[in-house]
Symmetry: C2
Subunit: 149 residues, 2 copies
């Protein structure tokens, strides 16, 4: 199936997949979230071919997820997340938490996510009711919204 063929689907999940569904793309975003900003850093860390990295970054820029700017010193270009890109954090964290639990490293969490200010671990990503109670999958129901076909 071609990349672009998700776009006509009237489904928010498919729309998001059209943006981040390539697996390299999610790993590139992970590394940018981890503070890697330079092409050479990303390329080295991921062990990805330059042309593929360049193509994925270009696409992320076209989608408004990443922007390219000059570093403060002006010496090189940096890739940083846009506000829409930063809002992908729940997706990446939900995937990370699932992997922590279901494909664990026997020594424990590979990465711990903490609140910067308090140093305390964040809550595990989960589905929550309007008034803040954790919900299990079976307690959630999907109904057609105003944008349904």
């Amino acid at each position: 199936m071609k990349y672009t063929s998700y776009k006509p689907m009237n489904c928010s999940l498919a729309q998001t997949l059209a943006v981040i569904g390539d697996r390299w793309t999610l790993l590139i975003l992970r590394d940018i979230f981890f503070g890697q900003k330079r092409f050479a850093q990303l390329q080295r860390n991921l062990g990805i071919a330059k042309n593929i990295l360049a193509a994925r970054l270009k696409q992320l820029m076209e989608e408004g997820i990443v922007e390219k700017r000059e570093s403060e010193s002006g010496a090189h270009a940096e890739y940083v997340l846009t506000p829409a890109g930063l809002e992908l954090q729940p997706v990446l964290l939900a995937m990370t938490h699932w992997g922590d639990k279901h494909r664990p490293n026997p020594k424990g969490e590979r990465v711990t996510f903490i609140e910067r200010e308090t140093g305390k671990p964040i809550r595990r990503m989960g589905v929550v009711s309007e008034d803040g109670r954790p919900l299990r999958a079976r307690e959630v129901r999907a109904i057609p919204g105003p944008g349904a076909d």
Copy 2:
């Protein structure tokens, strides 16, 4: 990059990508979450080739995400989510919410997720501090855990 080559990465996100990183796989899971259980239903709804659907379902069974059982009437096979599969709901919902916001249907949400018991919409998926405050991406920091390399 080959599918299996994520597995050696000591990264929970990469581990999850190795399970659900194929885009068809996420759409198959979406439809099973939406209550479609039969091969023919999934195949018709997704417009996917039979051999691809069969291969993806086989892989989901091998990964312990989906299991195959007989329907109550015994007339056909059904695919249902395992407990580990049900725990992927936060991933799918976080992706859906991002798509709702950043790739919206102009008429509104395509699907609304409600709490079965109260009928009220669930909260938007988001990152939350230990004591339940919503956190922005910049307020979260990643530190190496006990399972880091």
